[in-house]
């Protein structure tokens, strides 16, 4: 497990990033005009409620003290109470993490499932017609806005042909797979073109590598060469591409969860923006940002598994 030594160090490196996130989230409320407590309590604020929040947030104290108090509350998992749902933000947010996590993971699986065969198809005969088709057609998916793709998929596969549900999450893992298929496909369609291009390019270069020629010359079946040697070695740059794009994918959940009416973090955040439910917006932003940081870390770990030579410092 020598090669996983980097993980603690990576975690340490994540601290400044997380720190930066907390600073931004903290200052969000101070960007609003007027009294932050008044803004946080919203339209139906009572004088007593505002006074209580003043006390809790230490609004009469210097800004850095206020920030430390904010961190202290964060450490105690206290993100305040939702103005709209009248529940602790922590429980609201935690409740919705599984949906978004499932959605993101499912999207990646679908994106990979779409991309690998297409990239292989294209890479084996570079310059052939099928290569051009594979390179050009998915780009359309990249250019289409996600909300539109989502609506089109619903109209086609849920309203016209009632194959899939229009929205919601379902109960139990099997139902989740069914309910989340269209939203995940929506996200996958946007992600696949990037993966295809990257994977195709690296497969072409790996295909011309010496070890592939060796593998072929010792009579290994074509299929086995492609899967065991070419794909694995082409995967490394692709994993980076996926890792980077996962950040955008998390952003995409905001739109997709809204379109499909999914009870996830992104949907919660969008609704809370419309509800002017400031504490929830703060909490959801924080968790989504941490999500992205975590994905960076996981990408690095997958890296070292795929390529034992990779060593992080």
């Amino acid at each position: 497990m020598e090669r996983f030594r980097f993980i603690p160090r990576r975690l340490l490196q994540a601290i400044p990033v997380v720190f930066g996130v907390t600073v931004i989230v903290f200052f969000l409320i101070h960007l609003l005009p007027g009294d932050p407590a008044q803004a946080a309590m919203g339209e139906h604020a009572t004088a007593a409620g505002v006074a209580e929040l003043h006390e809790k947030w230490g609004l009469d104290k210097p800004i850095w003290t206020q920030y430390l108090m904010f961190l202290d509350r964060l450490i105690h998992a206290d993100l305040g109470d939702s103005l709209f749902y009248r529940l602790p933000v922590t429980s609201l947010v935690v409740d919705r993490i599984p949906v978004t996590l499932f959605l993101v993971a499912y999207s990646v699986v679908l994106a990979v499932a779409i991309s690998v065969p297409l990239a292989a198809l294209a890479a084996v005969r570079p310059g052939a017609l099928r290569d051009h088709v594979v390179r050009a057609v998915p780009l359309v998916g990249l250019g289409m806005p996600q909300f539109w793709v989502g609506i089109m998929l619903i109209l086609l596969l849920a309203v016209r042909v009632k194959l899939f549900p229009v929205g919601n999450y379902g109960n139990g893992a099997l139902e989740h797979l069914w309910y989340l298929f269209l939203p995940s496909l929506t996200l996958a369609i946007a992600m696949a073109p990037i993966i295809i291009r990257s994977l195709r390019a690296s497969m072409i270069s790996v295909l011309s590598a010496d070890f592939v020629a060796t593998a072929r010359s010792k009579g290994l079946p074509r299929r086995s060469v492609l899967l065991r040697h070419v794909l694995r070695n082409s995967a490394i740059p692709t994993v980076t591409v996926i890792g980077v794009n996962l950040g955008y994918l998390v952003g995409g959940t905001l739109v997709v969860e809204k379109v499909f009416g999914l009870p996830g973090l992104g949907g919660l955040m969008v609704n809370s923006i419309f509800n002017r439910d400031f504490p929830v917006v703060q909490g959801a932003s924080l968790v989504l940002a941490l999500f992205v940081v975590l994905i960076g870390l996981v990408t690095d770990i997958i890296y070292t598994i795929l390529d034992p030579r990779v060593r992080f410092r």
Partner: protein
Amino acid sequence: MRTTNRLLTALVAVAAMTLAACSSGGSGAGAGNTSADASGTGAGSTSPAASGGTGSPTTETGTPVSGGDLVIARAADALAMNNTNTFDNNSIFVFEQIMEPLFTVTDDGKGTKPWLATGYQTSDDGLTYTVTLRQGVKFSNGDPMTSADVKFSIDAATATGDDGWGYINAAIDTVTAPDPDTVVFKLKYQWAPFIADLALFSNAIVPKDYDGQSADEFYQHPVGTGPFVWDKWEKGKALTLKKNPNYWQQGKPYLDSVTWNVVPDGNARKLQLQGGQASIDEYPDWSTMDDLKATSGITATTFPSTQLTLLTMNQQKKPFQDVHVRRAIAAAIDRQAIVKAVLFGNGSAANSLLMPGVPYYDKNTKGIQFDESLAKAEMAKSSVPNGFSTSVLVRSGDSTQASVAQILQGELEPLGIKLEIKQLDPTAVKTARNAGDFDMLFGGWTMDIPDPDEWTSFAVDPKGGAHADYTWGNDPEIVKINKEAQQTTDTAKRQELYSKLQSLAAEDSAEAYLYYSPYAYAWENKVHGFFVTPLGNYHLEDVWLSK
């Protein structure tokens, strides 16, 4: 004197509550209004209709069948289940299925009919109401409902005072329960809207002493006599009620359960209805109505409501003290254009302070309608014949208000009135409104009881607690008529008074009445018996699903 003082207290309470209920100058005040703020107000949401309303119960073919689970897609979640202090429609529509009042609103929204009561008698002086309770009504926990439960419930509602709907009960002096089936209400003064007040959801009947729990515990999963009982609530996602097997109306409800799913996006709601995932869309966006109407198997329609949207002019600011200026502005507004732009043609131009679904609404009130020559004539007679500069506040994020403001800007220009549109955060709009720090803003109202007083006192009486709906106007004649109407129980006399009030208020133009908007609903054709009253209530015990 004493009476007057108490009356004033009641009026102040009305005002205070309206602050709470109507929140800002938003277009979406509601039968329990605040919901509108949350759900993105306006066009898409609660909206009443006037003449345009085609509201009819859903296709009544065949005999009702029992069974089935009804799924309703709604724009925003309920907030709380306490009927005595909750002002938001999304909550009210739910707890009305659990807890029922003694009287309920008739289908036309203009009167009441006995519900948990079978009738009432009034004393000659009009100060004592003796109400007889219906036999055989049980709470969903199996306990019979008695007069002790009624006394407890009404007293609890009254006790909320300004913090809840207690102001509605301000006329009640004492409630007594001489025998299990009789309740006697003694009033402090004659109060015409009394039975209408008892029909409000805040006066619904709950078990005495909250069945041995604290109020907070009780309202986590309330118990009542209604057709449905509490099941579960995943906040922000879904709320489910199931059938009450002990319901007093034999054979009802037909449904096994009702679930309200929170689907904030209007287009997502439309698609869920088209895809068969929801059976009713509670707030179809106006922009999706045509599409829904064109979908086979779906009925999209509007029910007449009591929602009025208006333009408030602040008479503390120059030159709005001048009646000619106010009349000129009222005459310059092409209401049809607004109805077309904002409600996609659903709804109608407003002519009166009262709405068509409200008792004593007078459709013959001429009001001031779109009339360019009248607008010019009034401007010429005014203190500012060459025009002036002014502003209108718009809640940021409220696309309805923004559209109306833009139309207004264009229409006032020919009069030499330069209108600046000021977009402010809703909180800031509310603060400015309460402080009187604005020229003009958009206001609105929907009724909660079938009696005009709830709104007229707030709108015209400077002592109504909100400076005559933030106009800071004071027309002594109108105020006097309003007070007379409150304490007159004779219907014909009240009609005469309210007709006069509507006519005078329109001439005075303290506010320019813009439009009446209906409630929009859409449902799958397998849903039967769904009907919405002008106050927004729906009775789900009548709803059934065909197989």
